[in-house]
Symmetry: C2
Subunit: 395 residues, 2 copies
Amino acid sequence: MPFQNFIPPRRLLLGPGPSMVHPRVLRALSTPLLGHLDPAFLALMDDIQTLLRVVFQTKNRFTIAVSGTGSAGMEASIANIVEPGDTVIVGVNGVFGTRLASMVERCGGKAIRVEAPWGQIVEPDAIDTALRRSGPVKAVAIVHAETSTGVWQPLEPIAHLCRTHDTLFIVDAVTSMGGAPLEIDRWGIDVCYSATQKCLSCPPGLSPFTLSDRAFAAIKARRNPCQSWYLDMALIADYWTEGARAYHHTAPISMLYGLREALRLVEEEGLPARFARHQLNSDALLAGLTGLGFPPLPPAGQRLPMLTCVTVPASIPETEIRANLLSTYGIEIGGGLGPLKGKVWRIGLMGESSTEAHVLTLLNALEELLIRGGWLSTPGVGLQAAARIYSRRNS
Amino acid sequence: MPFQNFIPPRRLLLGPGPSMVHPRVLRALSTPLLGHLDPAFLALMDDIQTLLRVVFQTKNRFTIAVSGTGSAGMEASIANIVEPGDTVIVGVNGVFGTRLASMVERCGGKAIRVEAPWGQIVEPDAIDTALRRSGPVKAVAIVHAETSTGVWQPLEPIAHLCRTHDTLFIVDAVTSMGGAPLEIDRWGIDVCYSATQKCLSCPPGLSPFTLSDRAFAAIKARRNPCQSWYLDMALIADYWTEGARAYHHTAPISMLYGLREALRLVEEEGLPARFARHQLNSDALLAGLTGLGFPPLPPAGQRLPMLTCVTVPASIPETEIRANLLSTYGIEIGGGLGPLKGKVWRIGLMGESSTEAHVLTLLNALEELLIRGGWLSTPGVGLQAAARIYSRRNS
């Protein structure tokens, strides 16, 4: 069985991640390797830390890239902070809050789930109530951008509650980082992790990760070692942040090359411009989708600018249309997870994927499929609605 | 502070990993991305599984690449097999056996350490004694190629003991896979993990991983969930091996592109030719190093063909020479770890790094530095000794 050279089909990635990757990042991935203790590589790690601090808006010394995907960052957060018997309040309104709670329990912690319907935020008042009713709480954990529902969770009120109750604040910023404001220091977030394949537009495989001094002190003061050796931040600190540059595990060198280049692109664009771009394209996309008969799942004011989740009417065969988008147009969008399976589409406009051309291409392809199937009669309604949003830009 | 384009210095990687990466693999890394649930990507995963089975010499259905470095594969092995209270016998004769034992304890298991001096194998008789003296033992874990000492551990006798005592056999093949025989099925290994940046000559970031049916059944029969969600093979099976292709975490797509290409290169060369190449270049290197006054640490018959560990005489400033090799010649070799720090060099000839040209280049550079420092007077003694090995090749 001879294996041929792998030539992927052309794809426009508009799902919940991975997003499109800039050619400069693809090129950086193919840079010849350095050893993970080479002085030139250690300097590259310094650059990554500096750039990550810019995007996280933090001065945290402990700001690194975890050697795994976003879920590894989630596990690193929980496994380092939670000791057996610790109580953690977890906001649960989608797949990723559910996953957080499961990880707390796998670490021997007690997870108090503060639930909200999928498609809505977790109300800060509900977190407040849970904090008042519980005994000592080690941490509150919540998802900033719930990738399974498109909900944009407000963080500042919860950060304030955490300060009042003297508990650590853990935030999942997998989908938000680099696409929406995220201010670790000003808001008072203690532990935050993200992923590279969303708004940073780097391939998946690393998890940007930051710890406040308070969180790092809590990790250093653990009674028991972290149950994960691979993700033990007390050990990893000696390689990344404490100056010793001592070997822990071999760094994923090529991925770090790619991340550095992706972060440079973010810095060149500038965070305010990048956030505005995400918001504009998301507004245009949602106008177009609404025009085509797909209403947004989250209520107004709770909708993410990089992931648009819309309800698919029962009359429309969502799986078939999604499959046709991929096979005929090479466009990937995401379906629903868990209770939303078959009921929603999740369309990501993240990082390099967030452009006007992509919005228009997707709306046109969708219209063609809907007209061909007899579910839509007037061509161009989606495109027109999007165009109205873009036309406001210069006025 | 403007960050420039990153241009690494030229390096010849002859340390304990990462090894040199073939241009075809570097090019594969820069392939545009597919979604992790795209049919074309799932087909690529199938290819990787097929190719990994060839290199592991196994029919194991559960043969995958873990989304982390070799240490993540080690943690996956231990965290999935060991439940709180389980006893595991661990061979400890270097850094990686020590790490295995630590992971067993972090999982709530009891590690019975069967120790041997660093630089020597763990005698199968000592494992036998430990098995006889212990109560029920869940697994025996041992390192095939101890990267910290260059020792080549025999596995077949220990596999036989595991069958006799009905216990699982866990093998660390991080440094051996693709460079020396490793026969999962014929020898009877139940859990085996490796890494991509050694003899497979792919960048670091993935861990090839295989489970026998017996090991997978033990995981499915656990009383408690695996303490790691990220590495829980009962969940990951639904994405990689059980046909459902259900989302667990986002696969590290670009790294898997690279791994497929690296495995194709292994298959094109053929395992027997690859193993012979590693042995030949290692023989030549060791002859040269011995000629220069650096004797091997492990005794004859216990020396790895992809990692040569030699003792550095106290009269020679090992750190300084190693630093000069890097700064003057761009050659990376490894120093000692733990108790061997400052006392040994670890020279890797792994995958693409294992060539005649690299052996000669390193020996010549070393000779120049030794002559310049006054520790050697006759030029060419190391090269001559290596040449004698190569000259036998065609006779």
